[in-house]
Symmetry: C2
Subunit: 372 residues, 2 copies
């Protein structure tokens, strides 16, 4: 993997990331396709929107279809039909949130499948092996995702284990075709976060993620930790804020120097009828849209906005039609990619701060939540 920062504007960075299966500009947002498919849209749709990097997940792929089938298919790209960049989260977060965590030991983590209750064991080495064998472009190490709230002692203990697991992960690598990213933990404790960074940057990771945020902590804590941690990470490596977030969250984090994001929000919200527009969020099920024959977002040029009205989108939603999922997802993911494109353009023109204020003024309808 190669990464270079092409332009800086304050701490915001415009960069280019080259992996084994493609290239993406940064800052970038990764659509979430945990099971090897981004729900509601085809890869053709994803490419048309301008995405070159999607996220999948070791926990989910390990359970279904499983390592053997993906290997037999010739790797995750061949199996899924997506032929550009793929990053996999290690599954650490899923083991803690979805599966029934059975036992956490120094060696690894025992868990029960959320599907059939079967018992499994992940070690840092196994996760790296899995990621290398299915051939992802970027793999995340197995970490212990500190919940919120957590005591200082708990956060310290889990951060230190995350560092030891990071070392084991690095030591178990067998190929550079799959880049490996370390994950910074430490809860909302500044000194723990900084100690974690200090230790991880000594390891030859290809990039660094900020984990353990967007897990229920107040937004201010997320922004504070991001602002603290991101600038401490190596300038020549990509920085990834995991599981984030809203347009505001992304803008705040880009301002702190973050390059990569993923979040279920655009896809999950699409399925729930919550749509992102230039003028804020729209809850399409509201009765007031039943005879609103204007496009969802007049400034959007996605297939949904070019061809359909809010009244039709509401009709599809309230009748439970699967096309509601399709059209809403096309729009929300398009909206996110356009946001990232505008962010990148504004950094190139050294106008990121202005863009951020302008975007949020329109999106929020007021400036009360906007920091500069």
């Amino acid at each position: 993997m190669e990464f270079s920062v092409v332009r800086e504007d304050g701490r915001a960075r415009f960069g280019i990331l080259k992996g084994t299966h493609g290239v993406t500009e940064t800052p970038c947002f990764m659509p979430v396709g945990t099971l090897g498919a981004v729900k509601g849209v085809t890869w053709e749709d994803i490419k048309r929107m301008g995405y070159h990097l999607v996220l999948s997940n070791v926990y989910h792929l390990y359970l279904r279809p499983g390592l053997e089938i993906i290997k037999e298919a010739g790797g995750i790209h061949k199996f899924t039909g997506w032929n550009e960049l793929i990053l996999t989260d290690s599954g650490g977060f899923q083991v803690f949130s979805l599966g029934k965590l059975m036992k956490l030991t120094e060696e690894g983590v025992f868990f029960k499948s959320h599907i059939d209750g079967s018992e499994h064991f992940f070690t840092p080495e196994f996760v790296v092996k899995f990621e290398e064998e299915i051939g992802v472009d970027i793999g995340m190490v197995l970490d212990e995702c500190t919940p919120y709230p957590a005591t200082y002692e708990y956060a310290e203990h889990s951060m230190e284990r995350t560092v030891r697991w990071a070392e084991r992960s690095i030591n178990s690598r067998t190929t550079d075709k799959t880049a490996l990213f370390g994950i910074v933990q430490g809860g909302v404790y500044d000194d723990l976060r900084l100690r974690c960074v200090e230790k991880l940057v000594k390891l030859p990771f290809d990039g660094y993620a900020i984990g353990g945020l967007s897990v229920g902590e107040p937004k201010e804590e997320m922004y504070r930790i991001t602002k603290l941690v991101a600038p401490q990470l190596p300038k020549d490596k990509p920085r990834y804020l995991m599981g984030v977030g809203t347009p505001l969250d992304i803008l705040e984090a880009v301002e702190s120097g973050v390059d990569m994001f993923d979040c279920v929000m655009p896809t999950r919200n699409a399925r729930n009828g919550t749509l992102f527009t230039s003028y804020g969020k729209v809850n399409i099920k509201k009765a007031k849209y039943k005879n609103d024959f204007t496009p969802l977002d007049p400034e959007c040029d996605c297939y949904t906005c070019k061809n359909f009205t809010k009244a039709y989108l509401r009709h599809l939603y309230v009748t439970g039609n699967v096309n509601s999922v399709i059209l809403n997802t096309i729009h929300n993911l398009h909206f996110y990619e356009k946001l990232m494109e505008k962010i990148r353009d504004s950094i190139k023109e050294e106008k990121f701060s202005e863009f951020k204020v302008d975007f949020l003024r329109k999106f929020k309808g007021d400036k009360s939540q906007i920091s500069r």
Copy 2:
């Protein structure tokens, strides 16, 4: 509406149907979009497959979103975003099958909504008014769909009411922008069917449908009635076999001189994981496909077959991923349109019988069910 038979091969006909919003060649299959959307695919997908005519439904559109909203939108084309031909079934079948039928009178039919139990009343005149006001290209008259089995007396009575309703429908027309089709009823009784035809062809309908089939009767009955009725219908008007069917059903009916078809089969089966291929039906959930890395149908050039394997389609199905619906529906509807295209081509070349035998030999894996 204009219709002309361009070529005949035995009783099979290749024709061209021009409506207010477009043109389609016949024999044609209409994807079913009861609520103004074909589940699982966008209009863009539908057009790419080669469809120019889709089916919707008065019963469903009347309940949701309702006449006022569609009118306010500027008609059904503007409301749904589909800008080519639309045919609406009258809702007669749905009143009998979906809604709770309350009372059938000479005047019309009282029914309860299957959604909220609210009470409604359809007359033949109202259905024509609805179809004209939402601006469909082809409207079907309200008929009394005779169930199977039905006594001779019942079938006779309901056929005669259907004829009287057909007269009232014709008399209530106010525009020729919406073509109107009559519907032949009469159960599985030859003389009732022929009497119905005799009466309906005296009315100036733009086309004629064979209704009351595909409602549970044995296949042989369906084929027999179709073979009996179709040739009695005016040669210069399109003939539509409602709710049919399998590839075999369609081939049999085309051989009898039918021009138009609709059926939920390709879309509903797609959602249930049953896929049509040149070599027969595939139940994609079967375990044997879990490591089958070949395309669903090697002879198919749809997006699904060009880009994905059976193993991936099975993975999407068993994990309940909405993309299973999308990719399966794209394939099944593509398969149906290609079948119709090959049927049309074979009629043009006067090789329909050969095509039918060849197709079915491959599709069924044997010739036992093939008639010539």
